[in-house]
Amino acid sequence: MSLEINKKTLEHLAKLSKIDLDPQEEEHLAQDMQSIVDYVKVLQSLDTSSVSPMNGGGELENSFRQDSERENTNQGNGRELFPHTHEGLLAVPPVFK
């Protein structure tokens, strides 16, 4: 499988990734990504039709904790460290113009 990372693909991916890129950066990134995609292509040569994908780092399944009383998280502390607050509420940039 050969796949080309062109300017249009990259701009679409950058938008999905919520990252503003400047034009110079775009050119470099497109080249780098092309070389990485070409490099990892070698995986396609392996037959994995009968292999179950490994989904995590360990073999744990359904790792639940007891629903018991525990040390409180430090919500107040988190609020204090939030870049912008207004009368104790978290202030974020406007979503609608």
Binding site: D20, V40, L43, P53, S63, N77, P83, V92
Partner: protein, 476 residues
């Protein structure tokens, strides 16, 4: 006695025998940082007054005759992707330049109880993405053995700090070799624990299915002490595992070495392996063999697929983990507009952007099965390779990295070349196995070379016992 060359065990005995106080030792390390770190660049921040205060408390507690942990008073460097409450934690990234941690990582909480002295936060590749510590947004760390060379990465700051006597030991994190490769480049010991052995709570996540925190120390004995202090199940990390860490993990028994069978994976002696590195590793193997320890050749046939597997799968996890950094939460870059797109564009460095965008690609509709899912299947094949060989041997021995420390700037423009420096360390992360890098010798240019011991899941005691045995043999 040079206080900057102490091991944890020597330090711990010394403060009890009143050969020196914890405060004197901490002062010696702080002095070393003040006079030499401008040439090395290992630390992003130094906690001078807090470090002295904790050391004084340890000295007072000893005066009062309190029982203390062997780690009490030890000046420890902490990689700057591990949270310490109330202190700045940047992960080496501009996007977290003003972020102050609001809680302690679970490993920090454990070490605080043992009255470890946190001497400072150490430099790293941005979000632990890199093999040279050149990707930090703040500074390039230099290798103390040759300042024109990299210390390895991503835990390069921690490795350089320990190797140059600016920290007695340090914490690093290892996703594909980030503890072991810098340990090899800087001539120290680095242990990557079994996945799930140490809590990841409070470690800024890069690749959640592979990240592990581990010790970077001067000796295997010290690595064992520090590891046993941070290991264990933690309710704040659902992937941590409850395991009976027997006493022999803290104090591994070198006499067990003779009972262990070593396998040499032939795929780790490839073209591209530096000749000096090969010679060092062959000498190490000869030493084990000549002492009657069983050594056999084994095969891990899918080794060559580990790096491409990782560079397909990891970006997917990175793009998800780094989605939360948007300049709205955590920290704001005042120089960019408040739009998350601008904050992310200005806040992330090149490698982070590369991985996020690549991750968005491998997870996107139409590519998910061909890339991400394919890589997960290959990950299973690599993991199965280890499972098969571990039916006949107990430990695997290999070079830690294919080369000694390379020159600063040498690989920075070629990501694929840079990725290949993790070719021997990465497979163990894919399989979740424990592995340690131990100094094995030097090249003709006097650069350190580490060898790697890989153990079965939760068999840190095996690689530590063999490591201790090697240390005893070579120090005599």
């Amino acid at each position: 006695m040079d206080l900057n060359e102490l091991t944890i065990s020597e330090f711990s005995r010394g403060i009890r025998k009143k050969l020196f106080s914890a405060e004197e030792v901490v002062s010696a390390y702080l002095a070393e940082i003040h006079s030499h770190d401008k040439n090395i660049g290992a630390f992003l921040e130094v906690f001078e007054s807090q470090a002295r205060k904790t050391a004084q408390e340890v000295d007072l507690a000893l005066e009062r005759g309190e029982e203390l942990s062997p780690l009490a008073g030890v000046p420890l460097g902490v990689k700057d992707n591990i949270l310490i409450e109330g202190t700045r934690t940047t992960a080496g990234s501009k996007i977290l330049e003003s972020y102050v941690a609001s809680y302690d990582a679970s490993v920090i909480k454990k070490l605080k109880e043992k009255r470890v002295v946190f001497i400072g936060k150490t430099n790293l590749d941005e979000f632990a993405m890199g093999s040279s510590t050149e990707n930090s947004a703040y500074q390039v760390t230099k290798n103390p053995h040759d300042k024109t060379r990299v210390p390895g990465g991503s835990s390069g700051g921690s490795a350089a700090a320990v190797a140059s006597g600016m920290a007695l030991a340090a914490l690093g994190s290892d996703t594909f070799g980030s503890i072991r490769q810098p340990a090899s480049f800087c001539g120290i010991v680095g242990l990557k624990p079994t996945y799930g052995a140490v809590s990841r709570s409070g470690l800024i996540a890069m690749t959640s299915s592979m990240d592990q925190i581990g010790p970077m120390t001067k000796t295997v004995e010290d690595a064992a002490l520090l590891f046993s202090a941070i290991a264990g199940k933690d309710t704040l990390d659902a992937t941590s595992v409850s395991h009976e860490w027997e006493g022999e993990v803290a104090r591994p028994d070198p006499s067990r070495a003779r009972l262990l069978r070593i396998g040499i994976p032939r795929e780790y002696f490839i073209e591209g392996l530096d000749n000096d590195v090969r010679i060092v590793i062959e000498d190490v193997i000869s030493l084990f063999k000549s002492s009657g320890i069983a050594v056999t050749d084994v095969s891990l046939p899918h080794t060559a697929y580990a790096v491409p597997c990782y560079y397909t799968m990891m970006p997917g996890e990175v793009s998800a983990n780094l989605a939360r950094f948007d300049g709205v939460r955590y920290a704001e870059n005042k120089e960019a507009s408040r739009s998350p797109l601008a904050q992310r564009g200005k806040g992330f460095g090149t490698e982070a952007k590369r991985r996020i965008i690549l991750g968005t690609f491998v997870l996107s509709s139409g590519h998910h099965d061909a890339y991400y899912k394919k890589a997960q299947a290959v990950r299973r094949l690599i993991s199965d390779d280890f499972r098969h060989v571990f039916q006949n041997v107990d430990v695997l021995l290999s070079p830690t990295a294919p080369t000694p420390a390379f020159k600063i700037g040498e690989k920075v423009d070629n990501p694929v070349q840079m990725y290949l420096s993790d070719v021997f360390t990465g497979p163990t992360n894919l399989a979740g196995l424990p592995a340690i890098s131990i100094p094995g010798g030097k090249t003709s240019e006097n650069l350190p070379v580490g060898f790697q011991l890989i153990g079965k899941h939760f068999c840190e005691k095996d690689i530590l016992a063999l490591g201790r045995w090697y240390e005893n043999e070579t120090s005599a």
